[in-house]
């Protein structure tokens, strides 16, 4: 199972949990799993939008990026630029 890691202020919404194992094989199913396991995080994800980093590579608004059993996954704010 992949490891989902929560950084900084996100832990407020996960009862202090800094990481958990996830079954998801892609980002779409990961988002569903997060909604189920951490319902307090959902409104923040819905309103603010989040990017997902899988093994260091950042995916923005992409649902079907694969997540492997050994993956390390992070939720981070969306990134843009000027």
């Amino acid at each position: 199972m992949a490891t989902l890691i929560f950084n900084g202020s996100l832990t407020q919404f996960t009862n202090g949990q800094t990481e958990c194992e996830v079954h998801a094989k892609n980002i779409k199913s990961l988002l569903g799993e997060i909604r189920e396991k951490f319902p307090r995080l959902s409104p923040l994800i819905e309103s603010e939008g989040f990017a997902i980093a899988i093994d260091g590579e950042i995916f923005q608004d992409i649902w079907f990026a694969p997540i492997s059993d050994s993956s390390e996954v992070h939720l981070i704010p969306p990134i843009g630029g000027g």
């Binding site: 202020s9 260091g56 390390e72 843009g80 630029g81 000027g82």
Partner: protein, 757 residues
């Protein structure tokens, strides 16, 4: 998502990495290029904006009757002409924007929130009548107290800009509204333990001023909405598709009803990722049933279009005697302007990103104030937070008697480093830029009296995103390439070069254009240093697809399977035949009708795998002890580009970013009076650097290839504005032997510090 093999890194490149003339060069130097204000249509009206004279006030009433009755006035609009949209976040530039805020920013509804906030707009047959009409619009205001500074705005008794603003990111959510829109926090490790291990701890407060992107071309557009509701918009923008989407939402039109064409653009730097005039021009045109052109004056640009945030920053860093960082902590308070959405997220994520940290925390606050809503500006947020960290790093180096580059090398992030915002970094060039800086003759050149040398490093993520291109093989074998990302920094040249390299044809046979929103699928905007990376990937994919089609056509003509045909140097060749056969691109194009019709291709991707770009800058300054004036004597910018497709344009980005950063460091600031009125809305008083203010910016391109791009490209446009703030400040601090922690380092501020020493 994309899976592009990096087949070209080791290839003997013929075009990529060279410096051909840009395809748009002749038009630019002869004045033929058409910018935002250059387009006209028959029966065109002039659109003008009536703006708030107050920083914060309730709108009691707006009476437009007299203006509407004036002969020559064809339309007047106010907030009544726009639907009130619910709160809904969408990505724009570096931040999520909220349609409720956007519709209120383009036209004030119940309140004005900054001087220059739009309250009405008119369309008339000429400027004079439009001016007269604006004077006839009667707006009754009830003045409210205003707040300009983040530390004042966060106080419980501060004037409240939005009575429904509950701070996001705090659990449990606050019960009362405030001006603090959002709190973010990143980090890991044990700060207490890290600081206990430190031999030296430096803790400092910093402040930076909001600065404008300073694009030479003001916002301008020409809208034409016909009687059947079909709209055309010609506009200077970084993102025509984004403009189309925003305008259609605000005006209640379908996406297909608005066709947006991006003009040539006279600078954007992030400031043209949002909308101001565009929905107004469309609404006026819809009402008047005539084309409407709108162009901002420089005063309007500075009063009412977004600068980047001003900020208050607190930084604390602990180090061992040998310079190894044991802990880093920071609090950032960013001005959002009148509506939420400062670049606090990326600013906080970048703060310590150049370094390998074991114990780190960054807390950030997005705070609304009575200033224009901020917009993206190169590496949004990064220059501000990294300025503070890099200033403390320099002070640490001085206190420990360490070389500032050695201190950075000792702590440099590298592949596998866990970034302060969580994920592990891929291959990056921090160490390589520091080594290049150390080896550069600039770093060991002697300094004279009152002179100082500063260094600083900088990090920016870079992005990918939705991108779409199309490619057509013309009847004579030349190539049409249509791109959806406006060309701000020479991207047409870079795209043509990659296409030519892949196809094996001269670059001169490729004609790259920027398509309008009806000619391509959605493209995210030009921003985030994404174009050479993302559009480059789409171009390469398009060409590879078309090469397959060309091989198929040749196979048909030779009556062999496609596997028997290879593509070499712009020709289809029969593999392994005793009788060599070859067909040029021209020959295949001429036979296209007989082999299946026009040869066209295209690619649509959501590009991922953008590699961060790191930079290290060196600057020498001389400070006049009698006036406090700082002269930049020498400047060297060193940056990892991954692979420079067109080195001249990479160097141009590095030089431009450095100069804008020098302006931010030394002179640029908004001066408001006690009533929140801007006192310097012009380039005479808002002082951006001009050629005579800066030396030639020397550049060194480092190339640590990004493994996720077929040519190893990283974005380069954002990062070069990150190091200059701290590099210049560190140089001034070393020249004067006074530590500065406020920007800009304008002569009065520097002189006051010298005189109070």
């Amino acid at each position: 998502m994309n899976d592009m093999t990096q087949t070209n890194l080791q290839k003997d490149l013929k075009i990529v990495g060279t410096r051909p003339l840009r395809p748009d060069g002749a038009d630019k130097v002869t004045g033929r290029a058409l910018f935002g204000a250059d387009k006209s249509l028959p029966n065109m009206l002039v659109g003008r904006v009536l703006r708030s004279p107050h920083a914060h006030a309730k709108i009691i009433s707006i009476d437009t009757k007299a203006a509407e009755a004036l002969p020559g006035v064809k339309a007047v609009i106010t907030s009544k002409d726009f639907q009130d949209l619910p709160s809904e976040f969408v990505p724009a530039g570096e931040m999520m924007v909220n349609f409720k805020d956007m519709t209120r920013n383009i036209m004030a509804r119940d309140k004005v929130l900054y001087e220059g906030h739009t309250v009405a707009a008119v369309a008339a047959i000429n400027d004079a009548i439009a001016e007269e009409a604006m004077a006839l619009i009667k707006v009754e205001y009830e003045l409210l107290p205003h707040v300009m500074d983040v530390e004042e705005a966060e106080k419980p008794n501060a004037p409240l800009l939005h009575d429904d603003m509950i701070t996001i990111g705090v659990e449990p959510a606050p019960k009362k509204p405030s001006n603090v829109a959002k709190r973010v926090e990143f980090g890991f490790g044990d700060l207490d333990k890290g600081f206990k291990e430190a031999d030296l701890i430096i803790e400092k407060k910093f402040s930076t001023q909001p600065v404008h992107q300073g694009y030479i071309e003001p916002h301008a557009c020409l809208a034409s909405v016909s009687e059947d509701g079909q709209g055309e918009l010609w506009v200077t923008t970084q993102g025509p598709f984004v403009v189309r989407n925003f305008c259609s939402k605000i005006l209640g039109m379908s996406t297909s009803q608005i066709r947006v064409t991006a003009s040539e653009i006279g600078g954007g730097f992030g400031g043209k990722t949002v909308i101001y005039l565009e929905p107004l021009a469309l609404a006026l045109s819809r009402k008047a049933c005539r084309p409407v052109k709108m162009v901002m004056s420089r005063q309007e640009v500075l009063m009412a279009s977004g600068p980047t945030s001003g900020a208050k920053i607190w930084v604390k860093i602990g180090v061992k005697k040998d310079g190894r960082i044991t802990a880093g902590d920071a609090v950032l308070k960013f001005q959002a302007g009148a509506f939420q959405g400062s670049p606090i997220g990326p600013g906080a994520m970048c703060a310590f990103a150049p370094y390998e940290m074991t114990n780190v925390r960054v807390v950030g606050y997005d705070i609304v104030v009575n200033r224009p809503k901020v917009a993206a500006y190169r590496a949004p947020g990064g220059p501000i937070s990294e300025y503070a960290v890099e200033s403390v790093m320099d002070e640490i180096a001085q206190k420990l008697n360490l070389d500032p580059l050695e201190l950075r090398l000792k702590n440099a992030a590298k592949e596998g480093t866990q970034a302060p915002y969580g994920p592990k970094l891929g291959p990056i060039g921090m160490i390589e830029t520091l080594e290049a800086a150390k080896a550069h003759p600039h770093y060991s050149a002697p300094l004279g009296p009152n002179q100082g040398r500063g260094v600083a490093s900088g990090f920016w993520f870079n992005i990918g995103g939705e991108t779409c291109t199309s490619i057509n093989i013309n009847e004579d074998g030349t190539v049409g390439l249509t791109l959806g990302t406006p060309d701000i920094g020479g991207s047409r040249a870079s795209m043509a070069m990659m296409a030519a390299e892949e196809l094996g044809v001269p670059m001169s046979t490729i004609r790259p254009i920027i398509g309008d929103t009806s000619s391509l699928g959605f493209n995210f905007l030009t921003g985030g240093s994404r174009v050479t990376f993302s559009s480059g990937m789409a171009v390469v994919e398009s060409v590879r697809e078309i090469i397959v089609e060309l091989r198929k056509r040749a196979a048909q003509l030779w009556d062999v399977s496609i596997e028997k045909v290879e593509w070499v140097s712009g020709h289809a060749r029969l593999v392994g035949s005793e009788n060599p056969k070859s067909l040029s691109l021209r020959e295949l194009a001429e036979a296209a009708g007989k082999t299946g019709g026009p040869i066209v291709g295209g690619a649509s991707i959501n590009a991922t795998g953008a590699g961060p770009s790191l930079a290290t800058h060196i600057v020498d300054v001389e400070v006049d002890p009698e006036t406090g004036r700082t002269t930049v004597l020498r400047y060297t910018a060193i940056q990892d580009a991954g692979k420079a497709i067109h080195p001249s344009y990479v160097e141009g980005q590095m030089q431009g970013g450095a100069v804008q950063g020098i302006g931010w460091a030394l002179n640029e600031e908004y001066v408001y009076d006690d009533n929140g009125k801007l006192l310097n809305p012009g380039f005479l008083d808002y002082r951006v650097p001009v050629c005579s203010d800066v030396p030639m910016i020397d550049t060194v391109i480092v190339e640590v290839p990004n493994p996720k791009h077929p040519y190893g490209v990283r974005g380069v446009g954002e990062t070069p504005i990150v190091p200059p703030l701290a590099a210049v400040s560190n140089a001034v601090s070393r020249a004067t032997n006074i530590r500065f922690n406020e920007l800009p380092l304008s002569p009065p501020r520097v002189l006051a510090a010298i005189e109070s020493r």
